[in-house]
Amino acid sequence: MRLNPLIDAAVLGPMRSSPGRIGLAVLAIALGVALGLAVHLINRSAADEISAAARSLYGLADLSVQGGSEGLDERFYPLIARTQGVQAVSPIVEVQARYADRRGAIDLIGADPFRVNRFQPALASLANVAAEGPGVLERDVVYVSAAAARELGLQRGDALRIQIGLDVAAFKVGGVLPAAAFRERAGVIDIADAQQRFGKLGKLSRVDVRIEPGAGVERVRERLRALLPASASVATPGGAADDALRLSRAYRSNLTALALVALFTGGFFVYSTQALFVLRRRREFAVLHALGVTRAQQLGSVLAGSVLMGALGALLGCAIGVAAARFGLARLGGDLGAGYFSASASAFEVRAAELVVFAALGVAAAITGAVRPALEAARIPTANALKAGDVASAQARAHPVFILVTALLAGAALLAPPIADLPLPGYAAIALLLIATVAATPVMVRIIATRALRVFTPAHSVARLTRPSGAEETKRSSWLRRSRRSPAQFLILEIALAQIAGAARYATLSVAAIIVSFSLMTSMAIMVTSFRDSLDAWIQKLLPADIYVRVGYVGQSAYLEPETADSLRRLPGVARAEYSRFAQAQIPGESRPITVIARTLDEQGAGETLWIVHEARNSPPASATPIWINEAAADLYRWGSGEVRRISIGGREIDTFVRGVWRDYEHQNGALVMGRDAYVGSTGDRAVNTVWLWAQDDAPLDRLRAEIRDLLPTDAQYDLRTPQELRRSSLAVFDRTFAVTYLLEVIAVLIGLFGIAAGMSAQVLARRGEFGALRHLGFTRAQVGAMLAVEGATLGALGVLVGLAAGALVSLILIYVVNRQSFHWSMDLSAPGMLLTLLSAGLVAMSALIAVLAGRRAMSGDVVAAVKEDW
C-alpha cells in the first residue's frame, strides 16, 4: 500500500525509527486510561450495588415517611393511610441487629406480611405463610435474604442468634427469601415481634407509601408533610439511595481523581515525546516545508501521530482497565479495601459508553499533550532550521504572563466553594498549579544548572574570581582547590551541567512527567502523614482511659444495662469509670439524623478528651443544653460555636447551645457530644454503649480484663480493648485504606521515569555527533557513561527539587481545601522527612541508572560513526 509521504514521514516514520519511545508513550497513556477506567468501574459497580440495595428496601413504594432518629409514633399510621392520594401503605420497623456469635450486624425488617407483599411482590410467600397461621408471622421466626443466607451459611430451620442488650435472642430461620426481595444482608420478622423485641413499642421506623395513579407524587408529599411532626420527613426511594451513596462519594471521587493523575502524567509524557520529536526532526520539517508541505499539514501530521498514539494507548488501557477492575473487585471489594461497602457484594458490568468515554479521555490527553509541539512544528523557521548547527530551539523560554495567569487562576479556584459537594475547584487549582510549575521549569532548570556549574566546576569559579567578587566565591574556589578530584572528573560534571543549562528546554521535556508525578507523590505523602499523625494524636487524646468496653453502636440492638455498667465500675482495681451512649437526634428540616454521643462529661473539662478546634466565646442561655459538634456537623449544617439550635431527641425537642467544635475522624456525616445527664433527662434512655475504665495505679490490667470477662455473659459480643489496641487497629484500617493510593502514586511515578528514559534516549540520538567527538577526543566509554549518569542524576535531582516544592504547595491544597471539603475534617501539617529523603534519593539514583541505560547507544561503537558522516 502506498502511503501519503507526509504521513509516512511525520506519523509512521517516528514509530518505525523510535519504537521504544513511542511504545513508552502509548504505555503511559494506556496506564492512565487503565487506572482511571478500573477505579471508575469498581466505584460504579459498588455505587450501583449500594443504590440498588437501598432501592430494594422500598420495593414499589413511591414515597417513604421516615420516622427520624426516634421513630414515628404509630398513631400517625392511619392518618397517613387515609391521606388523599395514598393508595397503599406498609409500616416498617427497622433494626440494626448485632450478631451474638460473630462481629457485625444484620438489617432486621419488621413488616406486616399482608401489606409488605403489595410493595415487594417477591415477599408474597410471607403473606401465604401468615394466612395459614394466626395472621401474623410466627414469633421469633426470621426470613433471611438470599445474601444473608449465603454469607451466614443459613438455611431453613437454622437459628440466627441476635444480641439485644447483652442478652441473646435466637430467631429460627423460617425460609430464605427470593433474591429479588432484598439485595443485601437482611431478615424479615413480624412487625409486632420487632417492636416488642427491640424496645420500639408504639414506634415505626418508616411507612412506605404507594400513591394512586395521577395523584402526583409532590402533591401527596406536601399533604403528608403537613400531617407529620418536624422530626419526620418524606423521602423518595431514589433520595434514600442517594443518601446511601453520599456516605462514600467523597472517597470515591478522590480515588477517581487520583487515578486520573496517571492520565494527566501520561498527557505530559506525550507532550515530552512529541516535543522532543519535533525538536529532533526540526530539519526534516523544514525540508518538508521547503518542498511544499503547508503549515497546516505539518500541524495535522503531528496531531495525527498523537491521535494514533492516544488511540493505541486507549485501546490497550481499556483492556487492562477492565481486567484490573474485575481483579480489584474480586480481591479487594467495591471500596478497594477502605471498609465503606462491606455489606455489598458488588456485581461487575462494563458499559460501552464508559469504554468510549475513557478511550476518548486517553486520546484527548494525547492530543492535549501534542498541541504545543504540533504548533511549534508548524512554526519552525525553515531557512534557519536548514542551516548546520541549528540549536536555538533547545533554548529555555520564559512565559511569565502564562505562568502568572495560571497561578492566579489556581489561587482563584481555591477561593471557590465546592461544586455538588465535591472539591472540584480544589482539583482544578492543583492541575493549574502543576501546569504553571512545568511552564516555569525551563527557567528554573537553567538558573539552577548555571548556579551549580559555577559552584561545582573549577573553571567557572576561577573565571569568576578574575572579576571583583565577594567572599562567597573565594570560599567556593578554595573548596574546589582543596578537592582531590581530577580535572577530568570536573570536566564530566561541567559538560553535563552545561548541557542541561544550555538545553534547559530539552531537560524540562525530560523531567516534566517526573515533576508532575513526584509532586503528586510528595503531596500525597505529606497529606497522608499529616492525616495519620493527626489521627494518631486524636486517638490518644480521645482515649484517656486504661480499658474500654464497647457493646453496640448507633441504632444497634446491643447495649449495656446501666446496672451492668455500674457493676463494671465497681470491679476491684477500677479507680473510676465513665459511660457513653450512641444515639441519634433529628435537626428540623434535615432529612438525615445526626449521631449523638452522650458522655459522662465535665463541661469545663471537655477539652481534655475532645480535640476542640473552636470554642464559643459567648455565655450559654440557661435553658439550652450545652453540646459540642464535630467539624462535619459544623460544615454540613452550617452550625457554629455559640449558636443556639433546636434538635429533636428522644421524642422531645430541646434547645442546644454549641459550646465548641471538635475534631472528629470517625463520624463523617456529623456528630454531637452532650452530657450523659442531659441526654438521660431528655430521653429517659439510660443504656450504655461504652464504659471507660481507669485502673487503680497498682491494678494489673490483665487481671482487670479477666474480671470484666467473668462479669459479662460468655455468649455476648463486646469489644474489650486497651487504648493501645484501639490505636493499632485504627491505624491498621487507615493504612489499608490508603494502600491503593500508594499503588496509584507508584504507577504515576513510573510513568514519570519513562519520561526521563524517553528524554535521554532522544537526546543521545540528537547528540550523537557530540558523543562521537568526545570519543575521538579521548573520552572513555566509562566517562561517557559517567557523564550520562551525572546528567540523569541532575535531571532527577531537578525533578525532585521542583517536585518537592510543587508537592508541598499541592499538599496544602489537599489538606486545607480538598480534604476539608470532601470529608469535613481538619488536620495538622506534618511532613515525612525521612520518607521524602529516601524517595528523593531513590528517584535521583533511578534517574541516573535510567539515563545510562537509555543512553547506552552513546557508549557503543556506533556513536563513533556519527562523525564519520563527514569522512
Partner: protein, 231 residues
C-alpha cells in the same frame, strides 16, 4: 612519528556482519610521517579515506598490517589504551566542527587539557595562548552558536592543538566554509602544526586545501601514492 605499514581493511559486502564475501577497502597502504610533517590525502568518494583515518585514530582495527604512533603499535592496544593514546597524542578537526554546543569557546578549547589532567592554571595559560593564536580572545565567553562557521572551525583547530598532540587528523576542515574562511583556517592549521612540530594528516577533496600541505598523497585501490609536492 606515524608509521602505517601495509595495512589492509575489508568490510562485509552485504548488510550486517554475517560471514560471507567481503569488500576490500584498503590494500597494502603504507605511510610514514615525521614530526612536523603535514600531508594531504586526496581520493575519490569511497576510496577509503575515512577508513584510513579511523584506523590511524585507533577507532577501528586493520585486518592486516600495523600502525605505530610515536613508536607505539596501536594494533596491540586494547580499547582503553587506544582511548588514552588518542586523548594524549592525537588531535582532531572535523568538517562539522563538533564543538560542544553548551560550552563556551574557551571551555571547548580547554576540554582536551582537562581531559589530560592538566592543572587549571596551566590550562588557562595554554587556552589564552591559543585564543590569541586563533584570534578569538574577544569571543572567549561566546557559545558556539554565536560564532560564524570560520570562527567555529578556528576554535576546533585550537581544541585539536590544545594539548600539544603529536599527530592531528583533519577531515575536510574547510568543507563547510567559504573560500576566505577556508584559507584562514588552513593557514592557521599549518602554522600551528609547524609551531608545535606536530604531524598532520589532512583529508580533503579540495586541491586548494591540499596545496597547503607539505606533500599530497592520493588514495587508490593500490594504496597511497605521491601526487605532487608543495613546500
Amino acid at each position: 612519528m606515524l608509521y602505517v605499514d601495509q595495512i589492509c581493511k575489508s568490510f562485509p559486502a552485504g548488510a550486517g556482519a554475517q560471514p560471507g564475501p567481503r569488500r576490500p577497502v584498503l590494500s597494502g597502504v603504507t605511510l610514514r610521517l615525521e614530526p612536523g610533517e603535514y600531508v594531504a590525502v586526496m581520493g575519490e568518494s569511497g576510496s577509503g579515506k575515512s577508513t584510513l583515518l579511523n584506523l590511524i585514530a585507533g577507532l577501528d582495527t586493520p585486518d592486516a598490517g600495523r600502525i605505530e604512533i610515536d613508536g607505539q603499535d596501536i594494533s596491540a592496544l586494547d580499547d582503553a589504551a587506544r582511548t588514552r593514546l588518542r586523548r594524549s597524542k592525537l588531535g582532531f578537526v572535523f568538517q562539522a566542527f563538533h564543538l560542544l554546543p553548551y560550552l563556551s569557546v574557551e571551555r571547548n578549547i580547554a576540554l582536551p587539557l582537562a581531559l589530560n589532567g592538566v592543572a587549571e592554571s596551566d590550562a588557562q595559560r595554554r587556552t589564552e595562548e591559543l585564543l590569541q593564536a586563533v584570534g578569538l580572545v574577544e569571543r572567549r565567553r561566546a557559545a558556539p552558536r554565536e560564532l560564524s562557521g570560520g570562527e567555529m572551525q578556528r576554535v576546533a583547530v585550537a581544541r585539536a592543538l590544545a594539548h600539544r598532540p603529536k599527530l592531528v587528523l583533519a577531515d575536510e576542515p574547510t568543507g563547510n566554509l567559504d573560500a576566505e574562511a577556508a584559507a584562514e583556517v588552513l593557514a592557521l592549521l599549518r602554522a600551528q602544526l609547524k609551531r608545535d612540530r606536530a604531524a598532520g594528516v589532512l583529508v580533503t577533496h579540495s586541491v586548494l586545501a591540499a596545496s597547503t600541505a607539505d606533500r599530497v598523497l592520493r588514495l587508490t585501490r593500490t594504496g597511497l601514492q605521491e601526487a605532487t609536492a608543495f613546500a
